[in-house]
């Protein structure tokens, strides 16, 4: 009987073929994003002699740093089939809190930076709790609320005035270089490598994928889904605050309208990087490619003196194309099932 069962299963070859083709589609897409980035760099090099200079590349790196850090949290949120629309406002409010701590309360630079990161983590945790405890229907709503509330407080605390002139320690992350490499870029590299290992080599990281892939199956497998979600939104708040710290260092000021619209760039980077809005699918390594793609596009269009209106249009077009390709990919995978 057991041998019957073994030989009767004629489904194996077909399944194998389908499995391969789906994996191929996935790989092709990832390769495609990387190739698009390289192609874009090649085009920019051809069009502008200034593009492929160390100065300019380091400039791209330092400009991309803030968006790259914000995108980490966004990636996690989208990985759990959620979203964090509050990152830009959380960035601004956390940075403002740092300014107040340093300027008004007279705290030292490190304590002020802790205030910044602490504020971000706290705001992120509130986002998580709104979702898991208050059971708001979707993080779109809770984080949209947080976006407005945090921005409002950021404007209110200094009556909309900026705070500038920070001690060197605070400026260090955003404003210094080691050799020609901006410190912020090194920070980004460390964060992405660290996040990569966290997501692939710790059970908590794997559980984030599990929750995004199938919340109910994850729950019934003993995963504390709510704790995972709280953690994800806390990390998102924390990375937003860290981005705020870098930004404050770079411009040596904090201002309540900092980080405006950063959430859309972060969402774009994550989606271009191949993460699925349905959750459970995506790689942090591709997110950084998405970030760089947008940064290079912006930088290149700037070098070519293209109207900023067209820049905005171009970013939008890239998002639509990326998502359209993603939908096609999903359909290919589904038809293979």
């Amino acid at each position: 009987m057991s041998n019957d069962v073994l030989t009767n299963n004629g489904k194996l070859p077909a399944e194998k073929a389908v499995g391969k083709s789906a994996a191929m589609t996935e790989k092709l897409y990832q390769l495609g994003v990387l190739l698009s980035l390289l192609l874009l760099c090649a085009v920019m090099t051809a069009l502008s002699p200034r593009f492929l200079t160390m100065d300019n590349l380091m400039n791209v790196a330092s400009q991309a740093a803030v968006s790259a850090i914000v995108s980490i949290g966004m990636f996690l949120a989208i990985l759990t089939a959620g979203i964090d629309l509050s990152v830009g406002s959380v960035l601004a409010l956390s940075a403002m809190m740092m300014g107040i701590a340093s300027d008004r309360w007279g705290l030292g630079p490190y304590a002020s930076m802790l205030v910044c990161l602490g504020s971000g983590a706290l705001l992120g945790l509130v986002n998580g709790l709104l979702l898991t405890k208050l059971r708001l229907p979707h993080p779109f709503i809770s984080t949209l609320g947080m976006q407005k509330m945090a921005r409002g407080i950021a404007l209110f605390v200094t009556a909309a005035a900026p705070i500038s002139m920070f001690p060197d320690e605070i400026q260090y992350l955003g404003n210094n270089s080691i050799g020609q490499v901006p410190v912020s870029f090194i920070l980004v590299a460390i964060l992405y490598v660290g996040m990569y290992f966290f997501l692939t080599r710790t059970s908590t990281g794997r559980y984030i994928y599990a929750v995004g892939g199938n919340k109910e199956a994850a729950r019934l497998s003993g995963i504390k889904v709510n704790s995972i979600l709280n953690l994800v939104y806390t990390i998102s708040g924390l990375t937003a605050a860290l981005a705020g710290l870098v930004l404050a260092g770079r411009v040596n000021a904090v201002y309540p309208l900092a980080g405006l619209d950063y959430e859309t760039d972060a969402i774009a980077a994550v989606i271009i990087g191949g993460a699925s809005f349905f959750g459970g699918v995506g790689s942090i390594a591709n997110t950084i490619i998405g970030v760089l793609l947008i940064a290079v596009l912006r930088n290149g269009l700037n070098l070519l003196n293209v109207d900023s209106a067209f820049q905005t249009f171009a970013i939008g077009a890239v998002i639509v194309v990326a998502v359209a390709v993603d939908v096609l990919r999903q359909n290919v995978m589904k038809s293979g099932r």
Partner: protein
């Protein structure tokens, strides 16, 4: 109307789905002014038949003669147009609208139709008239959502009446009604009958069929077995016809020596769902839960495993009381719950075999917080090899596997959780015969190793073939208990229909 009063004549209706013959030459005749019961086990083909009559599915062959016209197939619009109405188990009404608005939904009355101006006054008046006709004390302007389920169902019936339905199909209409509401429903059904409407009444509650139906058709394995006048037969006859065939030996059951009680449940209650559920499970025992769909078997399993909360009751595992608030608590206690819906609740389809197999307490496969990917793959490979899982590799996405192989991944996952108590909910649903036998053998192996197994099966043959002892549930209560030797399909059916004395 045709001369002999026959309104509906279904002849040789057949419908095949890939791998299954859902309907196999079904014949049914229903007369105007009669209540015609349709009885059968789960999977006998009742729902498929309804879907043909309402036009949701197209038959492969056979005819539907209705009101003197013969159709080879219907679509939902036409079915409604010729006067076939259906009251589904789940109500298709809009809670935020008023009673009258719901009754006339899609068939509104207008003051000026071209201007799209509704005649609310006339609709409310007409609705009041319909409600009064059916003896319902409900205001036409009340919001539907404020009514009880029973009354909402009556509103569905009003809708059907207003659309001049000549045949009303009722699919398990009393399953969510209280006794009083059900009583009201039967009164309304009698009135409809008096007006010459034919009613197809599908119910698992055979006492209701006995008390209310004029004629009955019994279905089994996609066939109509026999039709007869209810007054000439008994409930026992219906059950006999429903279960029919004798069991062939396709269950490789190997009894294991039984040990101590490892799971003890006492007076488990969940309001409106479970009522005083008490039972014991021993090491080496396969305990079957039989009953009809919705009897509370899955709900019992979900309460024990922390998937759903429970209001009161005590659970002891290996003699120690445990408090189960969430799935992790039951996993820690050594209970595995293999859910009925693999795809929705058991697996992460977009993840690999290795990931799914090792998901429970994944931190076990690492040191100081760092997972060993090699150990995860190796562990998964080993357990999958033991179960002869067919896959191209541990990185294969689970969503690409066949149903039987997916079920093996679920079992692998729980084997690796070190559980001692396994609750299988419909373990062989949707998998082919060969894989079924493998699942049965795995169950044998589990009990041989001293585990306790609970299987929830809707196929009576399966539960009788595999369980050492069978508990039967009906509407959230345990209504029967029998050993494998004592069990007969008739006894199970009696208990499952709510007759407590299973004799």
């Amino acid at each position: 109307m045709v001369a002999d009063g026959i309104l509906l004549k279904v002849k040789g209706l057949t419908k095949k789905f890939p791998g299954v013959i859902a309907l196999d030459g079904v014949d049914i005749e229903a007369r105007a002014g009669e209540i015609h019961g349709i009885c059968g086990e789960n999977g006998a083909g009742k729902s498929t038949l309804i879907k043909m009559l309402t036009g949701a599915h197209t038959p492969d062959s056979g005819t539907i003669e209705f009101d003197g016209v013969t159709y080879t197939s219907l679509d939902p619009r036409r079915a409604m147009g010729i006067g076939i109405g259906c009251i589904y188990q789940e109500l298709n009404l809009i809670p935020h609208l008023t009673v009258a608005e719901n009754i006339f939904l899609g068939r509104e009355m207008y003051l000026a139709e071209s201007l799209n101006i509704l005649d609310r006054g006339q609709m409310n008046a007409k609705a009041a008239e319909l409600l009064a006709d059916l003896g319902l004390a409900v205001s036409p302007t009340a919001r539907l959502g404020t009514l009880g389920v029973g009354h909402q169902q009556m509103i569905e019936i009003c809708r059907a009446v207003w659309s001049n339905a000549k045949l009303i199909i009722m699919d398990e209409p009393t399953s969510s009604l209280s006794e009083k509401e059900a009583h009201d429903l039967f009164r309304v059904m009698a009135q409809m009958k008096a007006r010459g409407v034919a009613i197809l009444f599908i119910s698992h509650r055979l006492d209701e069929v006995r008390d209310n139906c004029d004629t009955v058709t019994v279905m089994r394995d996609g066939r109509s077995i026999e039709s007869f006048a209810m007054k000439e037969r008994s409930v026992a006859d219906i059950i006999q016809l429903m279960v029919g065939r004798s069991i062939q030996n396709k269950y490789p059951k190997e009894p294991a020596p039984q040990g101590d009680v490892i799971l003890s449940v006492r007076n488990l209650n969940r309001k409106g769902v479970l009522h005083d559920i008490s039972f014991d499970l021993r090491a080496g025992e396969v305990l079957g839960f039989a009953g009809l769909v919705g009897a509370g078997r899955t709900e019992t399993a979900r309460a024990i495993t922390g998937a759903d909360p429970y209001d009161s009751g005590a659970i002891e595992v290996f003699g120690k009381p445990v408090k189960i608030r969430q799935p992790l608590d039951s996993i820690d206690a050594g209970i595995a719950f293999l859910t009925e819906n693999r795809k929705e609740q058991g697996l992460i389809l977009i993840q690999s075999v290795a990931f799914n197999a090792t998901i429970v307490k994944m931190h076990k496969y690492g040191k100081a917080g760092w997972l060993s990917l090699g150990r995860i793959k190796e562990t998964a490979r080993k357990v999958c090899a033991e179960m002869r899982l067919k896959t191209s590799g541990m990185d294969m996405l689970v969503g690409k596997l066949s149903g039987g192989n997916q079920q093996k991944v679920v079992i692998a996952k729980w084997l690796l959780s070190n559980a001692k108590i396994f609750i299988f909910d419909e373990p062989t649903r949707g998998i082919d015969v060969g894989a079924k036998v493998e699942v049965y053998k795995l169950i044998n192996q589990l009990v041989a190793n001293g585990a306790g197994v609970i299987i929830i099966c809707s196929e009576m043959e399966e539960v009788m073939g595999m369980a050492d002892r069978i508990l039967v549930m009906h509407e959230g209560e345990i209504t029967g208990e029998m050993t494998q030797q004592e069990a007969t399909q008739e006894k199970i059916m009696y208990a499952a229909s709510g007759f407590k004395q299973a004799s």
